[in-house]
């Protein structure tokens, strides 16, 4: 468990405008923490995939965004929560190219490749929570004043 250093931000996921808002908020938080441009882009892309999954497959839900601190390391934890039907076959859903929603089937498997930590918790009939964590790599953010 990582100790959160700020409170958790909760954003609704109920429309494609919400997806755009999620992307903007994740981008802003990642930039503020000092993630480099490639890391930011990967994280925002993963967030977009998972938020869309929650919307399309889970019937909507929300994202919780928490800033993490472990020593001098800063990270961001994003949880995508829906109360949809759940995923019956997780292994299948994690397969590249498998889709039930008319997409490319890259959402879950692709998002997992884009971040350092990925956990999926699903219960049939009760919903799905996907949590991803990424850490700022390299030098600490200039604006945090370094150790």
């Amino acid at each position: 468990m990582h100790a959160p250093i700020t409170s958790t931000t909760r954003l609704p996921i109920g429309s494609d405008a919400d997806l755009a808002w999620v992307r903007q908020q994740v981008r802003q938080a990642a930039a503020d923490l000092g993630f480099n441009l490639v890391q930011q882009t990967k994280l925002v892309t993963a967030a977009s995939e998972l938020a869309r999954n929650a919307l399309v497959h889970g019937g909507g839900g929300h994202m919780e965004m928490t800033v993490l601190a472990e020593g001098a390391h800063r990270g961001l934890r994003l949880s995508f929560v829906d109360a949809g039907p759940g995923i019956r076959d997780v292994e299948l859903a994690m397969t590249d190219g498998y889709t039930t929603g008319g997409g490319l089937g890259m959402g879950l498997s692709g998002a997992k490749r884009l971040v350092k930590e990925f956990t999926l918790d699903t219960r049939p009939g009760q919903g799905t929570t996907v949590t991803i964590v990424d850490w700022v790599s390299g030098l600490p953010a200039p604006r945090t004043g370094a150790p």
Partner: protein
């Protein structure tokens, strides 16, 4: 340079410009899913109904901060339907961070032509750069 999220939540339609026989589309900032799908329909309709036969579609991505699998699919479908309507699609100006992310995501968009910028895309399509008024009279071979 931090973030600069170009607060541009453009839910409106994306304009499609005609440059002679080429359609030019400039994507910028946040593109809502609905606007992306609308664009797909608009481009096909413009190709089919254009008074001048459209030979190419250039999509300028230099202002796009992320391409996820949804937008990737829309771009691939735009190119596929344009091809069936006898037009070639070129993605121009993709940012390096976006390219790196797409590859890791598993979306390499095979079959899509790319160019580093719009000018190079236009010359790939056999058009002289529109910036230079010195028209090349001998076109192609």
């Amino acid at each position: 340079m931090t973030g600069l999220p170009a607060m541009h939540p453009g839910p409106g339609p994306v304009p499609v410009l005609a440059l002679g026989d080429v359609l030019l589309v400039t994507l910028q900032g946040e593109l809502h899913d609905g606007a992306a799908e609308q664009l797909q329909h608009d481009i096909s309709r413009r190709i089919a109904s254009s008074p001048v036969p459209v030979t190419g579609v250039v999509i300028d991505l230099s202002g796009v901060e992320i391409i996820d699998s949804f937008l990737g699919r829309v771009l691939a479908e735009i190119a596929a339907s344009a091809r069936l309507l006898a037009a070639r699609t070129i993605l121009a100006g993709m940012r390096p961070a976006v390219a790196i992310t797409l590859v890791e995501l598993g979306l390499t968009l095979p079959g899509l032509s790319t160019a580093l910028n719009v000018e190079k895309a236009l010359s790939l399509l056999g058009r002289a750069s529109s910036a230079a008024p010195t028209a090349h009279l001998e076109e192609g071979a």
